[in-house]
Symmetry: C2
């Protein structure tokens, strides 16, 4: 559903100027798991809304997530050559076009969210609130801020002021966690969920966001490189990771605990939460 909608929403490769639309599509259709759209759709459904009603916003979340990957991979940032087993955007299109493709994706994310106001039954007030929520989640005090601290701390061992554990927590809550939580938040919001249901889903998002990042760090050590499709490793880059701070076993324990807490938060939703329960389990059992 998400892949089809993305194909429909994303500007065609032939549109002027083709180079930037090719680059945008290249990274949007590069084997992403579509976790954020699925969380948004599930949050809409579980709170009594119709998933189709939030589809533009669900796709916008993936588009914005993709922008962050394109920019994070740039030479001036993490300098990655491979992502999901394919050359990164700037390796294919050059650095200038990759920066512009990222800019175009971020911008298009907000355009798509604005389009959601044209879906019957969705109130403009809620769309504006959702746009504000996502902007805060990915802005300088959200995702961009997390990446900035990550960039500063890289290769330093002990980073910035404060303990390594605190810095690690800051990075991941902002760099990964904020958009995951926002995905659930706007899915519920656009469906007119009660503040209580919305809050429960946001807390579920905080927990699976944490589990997701720990699992990523753990996979970087124990995972199958071919499945991961990455070049280099966090250890080589002296990255601040959960295993580096807490050790492998304690990291796995923390991920498990976060997933348990996430599932506990879904209890009030009963059987309607089955998909979100399964997603929480998937996050720490996945292999890439």
């Amino acid at each position: 559903m998400v892949d089809k909608a993305l194909d429909r929403f994303m500007t065609k490769e032939e549109a002027l100027p083709p180079v930037v639309h090719k680059a945008m599509r290249y990274s949007v259709f590069a084997g992403g798991k579509r976790l954020r759209p699925v969380l948004c759709l599930a949050a809409a459904e579980i709170t009594g809304g119709k998933p189709a009603r939030v589809l533009p916003t669900a796709c916008a979340l993936e588009v914005i997530h993709t922008y962050s990957l394109v920019h994070d991979d740039l030479p001036a940032m993490d300098d990655d050559d491979l992502r999901r087993g394919r050359p990164t955007n700037h390796r294919v299109f050059g650095e200038g076009v990759a920066i512009l493709a990222g800019d175009g994706l971020l911008t298009y994310g907000f355009e798509l969210m604005a389009k959601n106001a044209r879906v019957a039954g969705v109130r403009a007030e809620r769309v504006v609130e959702a746009i504000g929520t996502v902007a805060r989640a990915v802005g300088s005090q959200g995702m961009v801020g997390g990446q900035a601290v990550d960039l500063e701390s890289e290769g330093r061992g002990v980073a910035l002021n404060g303990s390594r554990a605190k810095v690690l927590d800051y990075i991941h809550r902002h760099k990964t966690g904020a958009l995951i939580t926002a995905s659930l938040s706007v899915g519920a919001l656009l469906s007119g969920a009660s503040p209580k249901a919305q809050r429960a889903l946001e807390r579920y998002g905080d927990q699976i966001g944490l589990a997701f990042q720990i699992a990523d760090d753990v996979l970087d050590i124990v995972g199958n490189k071919a499945l991961l499709g990455k070049s280099g490793s966090d250890a080589e880059n002296q990255k601040l990771t959960y295993p580096a701070v807490y050790g492998l076993e304690e990291s796995q324990r923390r991920a498990r605990r976060a997933v348990d807490e996430a599932k506990r938060l879904l209890k009030p939703f009963g059987r309607r939460a089955d998909l979100l329960v399964a997603l929480a389990d998937y996050i720490i059992t996945r292999e890439n």
Copy 2:
């Protein structure tokens, strides 16, 4: 009014993480002319609205304009060391932080626009429409697209398919013109202007956008380098410019003609258009 509001809206330098907020403020408060916010406020006023009602959006336009300057100056793009007589963002903060500061500014632009829905008397439907308008103007088929074609054409003399005049026209209508036109459009839109008045202001925007870009190209040749505060020149970079395509005199004639047409479009507004008339004249008489 705009400078004060920007200072109030922009996140403080001390906010976490400071490096990215310092970089964002550095470029927002670097001597910009605030043309886009002024156009937005004037469009609101001339169509019977209160300028204060569109202030968050007016500031958002400047913030988004600033993001485009920060990214355009990057080494992978135009590779500029100076802007308005000061070192460019990446020369001060490094390339990675400059990319992130640009990303943060673009994102914050949309956050600010969403905030405009909280101003009394502004309808959420119009805010959503304004967000869509600005996103289209600065996205891959707007400003980002114009910069992509500019990047491709640079140093090539004759560029892409089609004549140099057509490519030049494409670049500037997208790279500069689109956001100038959108500034007028959303100012009118948020104030509840009639479609006819909104359309007249957009056409005015198209004309002054053209005049603005020609004047920029002309200033690059005949202007005072100290006032311009630029390093290098378009000619050195083999840029496709109006003087390069049409010659200096014909370029100046075209700029004057665009300003005359812009002023003609304001006739129905009578004396209320005085500020926009003066702005049109300013655009081709300014020295930086």
